[in-house]
């Protein structure tokens, strides 16, 4: 009978410890996988140099992180959501509904999105128009809207190499895809005149409906295998390019900088992506990176404010800090962010 007794008592003790609510003393962070490496670098340095435990950082994607942030206030909800795109009104509404009324928005810097191919392949220099004509489901040819007939990059533009079109682009759940849609496809669609042709060809009821249909067509990609959505992360894209030397993939600048011995980067609109060209705003495909802090947790979770201040300090997010070394493009307005963090200014309504 002894083992039975032992098991029962252990069970009882287990149930009791589980029932006691614990005060959480570590910071919990979740969100964008693009911001994740930066957050881990800061968390690691924070744990080393402060008397607080190292924050726990999770990935999961920008949208998922913001949703978790908005689950409510309390120790079993996260403190910070990392995000590679700006918070949406729907998130703010969800937050307000769950009692999370004050959110601090902290912009940590910029990330460039680069187009890269196998190191041994030919050189590329793109424009948004070329990307649109290569990947869109329907393009304008000789004044008429037709299904995309382009097979090689040379079909798109004679200046490009005669290499089959094959692009690995991030899946729709990624923040990177939003930037690609907005800064490349939409720009290319308008720049090549396809947008106007779509509006003209639309059968919508009024002007608004026609514009909406055209905008939707701008982002519709061909489905014949030339454009492949990658739902995993950049390591998957890199592995696919390794297996398919003809392909062109989309990466974050920091990922490219860590794999310059395998990848060759392409210029966009004549600008080669680098920390300098992104910081100056010359390189067109870049985006700000954010994290969002639940203000109600400041002062409750130990070290939360110290962590945020440490994150945006010049030692970390500055142009010579470890984040810049890893590929983050430092924010020229970092001083304003530091002041806002020090004053714990919550974000206002979205413009």
């Amino acid at each position: 009978m002894k083992p039975v007794l032992l098991c029962t008592s252990v069970l009882a003790i287990g149930a009791m410890t589980a029932g006691v609510a614990q005060a959480r003393d570590n910071i919990q962070i979740a969100g964008s996988s693009t911001v994740l490496p930066y957050a881990t670098i800061v968390a690691e340095a924070f744990g080393e140099n402060f008397d607080f435990p190292t924050p726990v950082v999770e990935g999961g994607g920008s949208g998922a992180g913001r949703k978790k942030l908005c689950e409510g206030v309390g120790e079993n909800t996260i403190d910070i959501a990392n995000s590679s795109s700006r918070i949406k009104q729907s998130d703010i509404d969800l937050c307000a509904q769950n009692g999370v009324t004050e959110i601090m928005e902290v912009r940590i810097g910029y990330d460039g999105i680069v187009f890269a191919s196998d190191i041994a392949g030919p050189d590329f220099a793109f424009t948004p128009e070329q990307w649109f004509n290569a990947l869109a489901a329907e393009v304008v040819k000789d004044g008429a809207v037709v299904a995309n007939p382009n097979k090689t990059w040379a079909d798109v533009d004679a200046a490009l190499p005669a290499q089959n079109i094959l692009a690995f682009i991030p899946g729709t759940k990624h923040g990177t895809r939003e930037v690609f849609d907005l800064n490349v496809l939409e720009q290319g669609c308008k720049g090549s005149g396809a947008y106007d042709a779509f509006v003209a060809a639309s059968t919508g009821a009024d002007d608004e409906a026609k514009k909406a249909e055209a905008a939707e067509k701008c982002l519709a990609l061909r489905t014949d295998g030339a454009s492949v959505d990658i739902d995993g992360d950049y390591t998957e894209t890199l592995a696919r390019i390794d297996a398919n030397k003809n392909a062109i993939g989309i990466f974050g600048l920091s990922f490219y900088q860590n794999n310059t011995d395998k990848l060759k980067v392409a210029a966009m609109s004549g600008i080669t992506p680098s920390v300098e060209t992104i910081a100056s705003g010359e390189y067109p495909v870049s985006r700000p990176l954010f994290f969002y802090v639940k203000k109600a947790h400041i002062g409750v979770i130990p070290g939360l404010k110290d962590y945020i201040e440490f994150f945006v300090s010049d030692d970390m997010a500055g142009p010579d800090g470890p984040l810049a070394a890893y590929g983050l493009v430092s924010d020229p307005e970092l001083a304003a962010t530091q002041a806002a963090v020090a004053a714990e200014t919550p974000m206002g309504p979205l413009e």
């Binding site: 098991c7 959480r24 979740a30 994740l36 744990g47 079993n76 860590n258 070394a325």
Partner: protein, 447 residues
């Protein structure tokens, strides 16, 4: 039987001379044998390919490059107050210690007569891991009397330098690599020739926690192994008594009716439910409803318990069923109660089978990562959880989760780490399965 009479040859023939039909049948048999062998060969090939690729990638993670240095711990920098009080000395961050180690390296290179004129001081310091200052700082804070002395210190080399010694980074790749230059590698080669730098067994792979992308060389499995251990303790403590109690009731005491049938069918079904489903259940029940902390081994252990229970119940019931009824009849016949019969006779005889099933269930739980995705265990956890029971509630990682995370990192040095972690995980699984087989061999009884 009709075939037999129809197929009989009319003329008698020698048995030593196969006729066409016999030859056909023999050929069919030979083909069938070949198919079987081919199937086995495919399986073996897959296993060999897996092992070769994992061992080839991962064995190098058990060795790590270190740089032998003589570090002068300058009291004027590290202890401005001059009272050797760790509280005051904490003000010096890892940046300050980094400068001291960098200076020690420059000095060491000069002492060995290695030409570093092609490199800037920053490039020389870049040969060292970012982890080195933290280790030195911990060492000094633990023993403040070291300040003012010159101490020997083995600093980890950076990931690219380590890759160079392991053959992953070459002069050609360095030319294209933005993180390391051929000039740096020439200095590394000279250091190696002078014996300043060497590959050695890497205990920190087992003791360190995860590390950020800037320092893959210091990433280790410590927190993941401890987290997995904590979860296995919880799984064992909860699932064994619950599973055995449920099986004894169902097998020995429950009446045979529609209800017990339904329960039986559902247990069999639960054993086949995909693991991620348990993760969703855990998120809703343990975290959102019961308010247990995220990323904690207690939640992971509870999910894995739910997942392992059906396996254990099925194994235990099979073990109980294998005990012959004559044992029960004899016990009852000499006046034992139902409970005495079960605990004195049936259960001890069924124990080897139960333990085997439990160990196999634990092995499956150890390798599972899907249910942990949703409860916040797929996270960057740097601090060790404290001792149980408090540690059960503190964030931890797990072995399969660590593998998953390392495969997603951008730095190629993490590929080696991921394969190394897979080797460790496989060793644990093989050990558990071997224990199960040994137990069965040693204690199994046949009637």
């Amino acid at each position: 039987m009709t075939d037999l009479s129809a197929g009989l040859p009319h003329a008698p023939r020698s048995l030593f001379e196969a006729d066409a039909r016999t030859r056909r049948r023999n050929a069919a048999e030979a083909r069938f044998r070949f198919y079987g062998m081919a199937a086995v060969a495919v399986g073996i090939l897959a296993l060999v390919f897996l092992l070769v690729s994992i061992l080839g990638n991962g064995l190098s993670s058990f060795r790590q490059t270190g740089i032998e240095l003589q570090v002068t711990l300058d009291a004027a920098v590290l202890d401005k107050a001059g009272n050797r009080n760790p509280e005051d000395m904490k003000k010096v961050t890892t940046v300050g210690y980094g400068k001291i180690i960098g200076a020690a390296l420059v000095e060491g290179l000069a002492g060995a007569g290695i030409d570093t004129s092609a490199l800037t001081t920053k490039q020389v310091s870049a040969l060292l891991s970012d982890e080195a200052p933290r280790r030195l700082r911990d060492m000094v804070l633990a023993d403040p009397s070291l300040v003012g002395q010159t101490v020997p210190f083995r600093a980890l080399a950076s990931g690219r330098v380590d890759g160079f010694l392991k053959g992953r980074v070459t002069m050609e790749s360095a030319r294209l690599d933005s993180n390391v230059s051929p000039e740096q590698l020439e200095v590394v080669q000279a250091m190696k020739d002078h014996g300043m730098l060497s590959l050695a067994f890497n205990p920190s792979f087992f003791t360190n926690a995860d590390a950020s992308e800037l320092r893959p060389e210091s990433a280790g499995l410590g927190v993941a192994m401890l987290g997995s251990l904590y979860m296995m303790i919880i799984v064992l403590v909860l699932s064994l008594p619950i599973g055995v109690a449920a099986s004894i009731y169902l097998e020995e005491l429950a009446p045979q009716n529609r209800w017990t049938d339904i329960i039986e069918v559902n247990i069999a079904n639960l054993a086949a439910v995909p693991a991620i489903v348990y993760g969703i259940l855990a998120l809703a029940l343990f975290i959102n409803f019961m308010g247990l902390p995220q990323s904690a081994p207690v939640v992971g252990g509870l999910v894995l318990t739910l997942m392992t229970l059906p396996t254990i119940i099925i194994a235990t019931r099979a073990a109980l069923k294998a005990v012959p009824p004559s044992i029960r009849d004899a016990a009852l016949g000499v006046g034992a109660s139902r409970m005495q019969t079960i605990f004195h006779h049936v259960l001890p005889l069924a124990m080897p089978g139960i333990l085997t099933g439990t160990i196999l269930g634990l092995a499956r739980a150890l390798g599972e990562s899907a249910p942990l995705l949703l409860i916040g265990m797929v996270a960057f956890v740097k601090d060790y959880p404290s001792a149980p029971p408090q540690g059960f509630m503190e964030p931890a990682s797990a072995l399969p989760v660590q593998v998953y995370q390392w495969t997603q990192r951008a730095d190629p040095a993490f590929v080696e780490r991921a394969s190394g972690a897979i080797i460790v995980l496989l060793v644990f699984l093989i050990a558990m399965n071997a224990t199960a087989i040994l137990l069965r061999r040693r204690f199994e009884r046949r009637w």
